[in-house]
Amino acid sequence: MSSRRTPLFSNHRDLGAKIVDFAGWEMPIQYTSILSEHKSVREGAGIFDVSHMGQIFVKGPETIEFLSYVTTWDMRRQKKGDCRYCHILDENGCIIDDTIVYTISEDNYMLIPNASKISKVFDWLLKNSGDFEISLNNLSDEFFCLALQGPDSPRLLGQHLNTSVGSFQLVKIGDTIISGTGYTGEKGCEIIGPLSEVTNHWESLVEMGAIPVGLGARDTLRLEKGYLLSGQDFDGNQTTLETGYSWVIDWNHDFIGKEALMEFKKKRYPRLRGIVIEDRGIVRPGNSVFNNGNKISSLTSGSLSPTLRKGIGLAYLDLDIGTPITVEVRGNHLNGRVVRMPFL
C-alpha cells in the first residue's frame, strides 16, 4: 500500500519535520525536538495534524439505539453537543477500537476511529447495523482533524475562531466541528472540518503562536496520562476490563460484548498497569517485565517521561500498586515499581 499524505504535508516538510510512516500515512514525528514539543503542550499550546484519523457519520431515526448497541456507552445519556469516549467491542468483549462519539444532533452522530482501524470499524458497524434505521457514511478521506492542545489553547481558539468549547462538548461552525477533546491530558480542542479548509486553520494557528507538534510528542504526552494507544496497548485480544477503563462501560444497557464481559468479570485477570523505572534508563514496548526473578509480562508502551525524566511504561500485570518489578533492557534489569495512573 502506498503512503498517504494529508494536505499539510508540504507545510510539515517546510517546517523541517522528520517524516515517518504511521498506519500507512507519511506523518511528522517531530519538527524540532520531541522534548521541546512535549513541553510546549504542557506549558503553552501545541498544534497537531491528525488528519489521518477517521470520521464516520451515523444518521437516521435509530442512531441512538444503534450506537448504544455497538459501543460500551448508552447514548440515550448523551445530550446534543456531548462527546463521549468509549470502546467498540467484539462478541468476546475484546476491544476493536476506542473512539470518541460526537452527538451533533439526536439523529446525527460522528465517530472518530483510529487511522489504522477506520475500515475495520466501518465494516464492523455495517455488519451489525442489521434492522437499525440508520445510514453509515465514512467521510475519513474528506475531513481534516487538527488538535490544539495546552493551557494556552483556549486563548488561541478564541483568537482564531472567536469561540470557546467546554470539556467533552462540541460547537459547530458551518461544516466545522470544534470539540473539547484531545489526547494529551491538557486543555484544548480538536477542529474537524472539510479538507479544503485545513491549511487556513493550520497556518493561522501557527502564525498566532501554536507550536507544531509531531507524533513523537503525541505519544509521550498520552503515555504520561495513561491513555491507550490502539493497536499497541490493545490489539484485539484484550477486554475493556483488562485495560482498566471499566468507567467507559454503562452496564445498564445492552451492547455487543456485554455478556462476555459479565462472565469475564467473575474471574481474576491482569490489568494494564503503569510502571515507573527508578534506575537510569529508558524502557521500550516489548521489554520483558519481571517479578521475583520471573518473567511475567511485556511492556505494551514504554518511553522516557519528558516531564518526570524517568522511564515509564504500561504492562498487563496481576500485581498491586507499589509492587517492585524489573524491566529487562539489553540484558540489564532496571528496577521499577507498579504505580497508580496517570503518571502525572
Partner: protein
C-alpha cells in the same frame, strides 16, 4: 548543514575520532548523527578497562524514540569515559565534538577504514 571539523577522522557509522599525543583515540558521534538521533536522553557507556574489537557495539545513545548503538571505530581498550553524559546526555546534542565526547580508546589494532573530513562530508551530503 552539519558541522564536520577538518582535524578529525570519521567512520561511516557517524562516529568521529581524534588521535591524541599519547596515542589514545577520543571518540564521539558526529553533528550529523546527533541531529538524526535528536534529543539524546540516555547514554550507556562501557566500563573503563573493557576491550572491544573494531565494529563491536561499545555504547548506546538513546533518544525519546529510539536506541542507537555506538560502534568501536578501532579495536582497543577503554581508557576513560565521559561520565558527565550520565547526568547531562544533552551534551551530545549541544557539543558533539567537544563536551559530548564519549570514550577514549587505547588502540590495539590498526587505525583503518577511517574517512577524512572531505570524504565524510560527501557521505552525508
Amino acid at each position: 548543514m552539519s558541522e564536520v571539523p577538518d582535524n578529525l577522522s570519521y567512520t561511516s557509522e557517524h562516529e568521529w575520532l581524534s588521535l591524541g599525543d599519547d596515542g589514545n583515540a577520543k571518540v564521539g558521534i558526529t553533528d550529523h548523527a546527533q541531529d538524526a538521533l535528536s534529543d539524546v536522553v540516555f547514554v550507556e557507556l562501557p566500563e573503563v578497562g573493557s576491550s572491544f574489537s573494531k565494529g563491536d557495539s561499545m555504547a548506546v545513545a538513546e533518544s525519546v524514540k529510539a536506541a542507537s548503538d555506538i560502534y568501536a571505530p578501532v579495536s582497543g581498550k577503554i581508557v576513560s569515559v565521559n561520565t558527565k553524559l550520565e547526568e547531562s546526555p544533552e551534551l551530545i546534542n549541544e557539543s558533539p565534538y567537544d563536551f559530548g565526547w564519549m570514550v577514549t580508546i587505547e588502540p590495539t589494532g590498526e587505525l583503518e577504514d577511517l574517512l577524512d573530513s572531505d570524504s565524510y562530508r560527501e557521505l552525508i551530503a
